[in-house]
Amino acid sequence: MGLIGRRAAARPGRAVLATRLGRAVLAAWLVLPLVPLLLWAVADRWSAPAVLPQELGTDGLRDALAAGGPAALARSTALGAAVAVLATPLGALAARALVVHRVPRPGAVLAVLLSPLVLPPFAVALGLDVLLLRLRVPATAGVVLLLTVAALPYTTIVLRAALAAQDRGFEEEARTLGATPWQVLRGVQVPLLAPALAGAAFLAFLVGWSDYVVTLLVGGGRLVTLPLLIGSAASATGNEAQVAVLSLTAVLPPLALLALVGVPGRRARGGRR
């Protein structure tokens, strides 16, 4: 409210005022859900109807540590990284096949590659968990496989768009100048594609990092990632501070990565704004 009041004092026109009010509402829409997380994370006592915590402290952090937060954080990081490491190069190869080479029936191939976007992840997990058990696939490997397949549509879309917008002339020139295929890959193709590769890897990482239902159903309770820990803490009552600390732990690393990588969609189109 203070912000809007101060801005109104500058006496802008009515249209500008309406625009500013609308934007303040939009900013509140995006930020408001995260405010209670931030406050609960440092609240030792915060009973209704107090608007702000009555006692600040680190009880939430202590509980999150005791619940196995650090190990879950490590598992989630490893899961996200594994999915990114697998889905990014596979998506890059598929994108290159679709854009540069002539794949038979490219429309059908693309439709199959994007099909995991349509299928509910829980349905895929329910369909496969008995089969994976019978084939004696280790639970963690099963989770990584399913999430890599779930991430492939994203990496393929991002890298396909980036490749389609790219100038193929540089490769041709390098080849004319006598570069080996390996030199062309390392010296031309990968550097040109680097921003899109980073964006695609980021999205694939998020698929592994954020997943709940596939890890729950296929992981068989052995792969306790951060979302699983949050899920079990949030479904019980009375541990708001612990839920808040775990939730922030699940939000901050992707945000830091986002700051490093930039907005995937924009960088994928060659860093233009």
Binding site: P33, L93, P120, L126, L217, P254
Partner: protein, 285 residues
């Protein structure tokens, strides 16, 4: 030598696409096949396989309430996400006074896991949550937004997260295309509203439609938000399917597979309808 349009180029293309294609076909194919077999009684955990539609008819009452409930949650969340997302995208790419802040906030909301969003919405909207405290409403006077009749917290979580996704997709398209058209229209004397209706909206429509379709299908098949913030009965499709499939009663498991098959069928139908509508939009625009 890259991409000669001949048999050799095709073979290279096929070799390059196979490492991605094989796992997708294996996982999607095996999951659908085994769910269908389980639902039709052909892959029982105990006993003889026998073709039957019992798994679809036994939970018929629950399915009859779960299908419209899931469709309604997905439709409400998508409609809200599309409207707010479009507004966010417009603010982030506006010609005059572009809001970098809203662009950055939308981008920052996209990587928040849905489960975290659900936990946050619970802390915000529950009867002792942050919003009633902020508004000075006593817990007993606050409507049951979490676990209540109208699924408000569930719809709000999806609308919140997906609005940021819509904003990013639509904003990306508008940023690259709309400015020059908008300026031309302004020079030619078009007012704000006319510019919005005749320039911005037609330019944004295909991306808005595609992003909305993706959101709808996502919400339809998403489990954790409704499981955490919803009520015990009636259940939406994913919650129903997971409960039946993980039930200790082995007879219930084929029913869970049947609900999963129904959900996948609905998602597929939604995508086919959306693609048709988008094609018409592209042909028209």
């Amino acid at each position: 030598m890259s991409g000669p349009p001949g048999a050799r180029g095709r073979r290279t293309g096929l070799l390059l696409v196979l490492p991605a294609l094989v796992p997708v076909v294996a996982v999607v194919g095996a999951a659908l096949t085994s769910a269908l077999l389980a639902a039709l009684g052909l892959a029982p955990l105990v006993g003889e396989p026998r073709l039957t539609g019992a798994a679809f008819t036994a939970p018929a009452d629950q399915l009859a309430s779960a299908v419209p409930l899931s469709l309604a949650i997905a439709a409400a969340a998508t409609a809200a996400a599309a409207a707010v997302g479009l507004a966010l995208a417009l603010a982030a790419v506006a010609t005059a006074r572009r809001s970098r802040l809203l662009g950055a906030l939308s981008a920052a909301t996209v990587p928040v896991p849905h489960l975290v969003g659900a936990a946050a919405m619970g802390l915000l909207l529950a009867d002792a949550g942050f919003l009633p405290r902020l508004l000075g409403v006593a817990p007993e006077d606050w409507p049951a937004l979490v676990g209540g009749r109208w699924w408000v917290a569930v719809v709000a979580e999806y609308a919140w997260k997906e609005s940021a996704f819509v904003a990013l997709v639509v904003g990306g398209v508008l940023a690259s295309r709309s400015r020059s058209y908008g300026e031309t229209a302004a020079v030619l004397g078009a007012g704000r509203w006319a510019r919005f209706r005749t320039v911005t909206l037609p330019l944004a429509a295909p991306a808005l439609g595609a992003a909305s379709a993706i959101s709808f299908v996502y919400v339809l098949g998403s489990y954790e938000v409704a499981a955490l913030l919803g009520r015990a009965a009636p259940e939406p499709l994913p919650v129903l399917a997971v409960r039946l499939s993980t039930s200790i009663d082995l007879a219930a498991r084929p029913q869970g597979a049947a609900v999963a098959v129904v959900t996948a069928g609905l998602a597929l139908l939604a995508v086919v309808l959306a693609l048709r509508a988008l094609r018409r939009l592209a042909a028209w625009g």
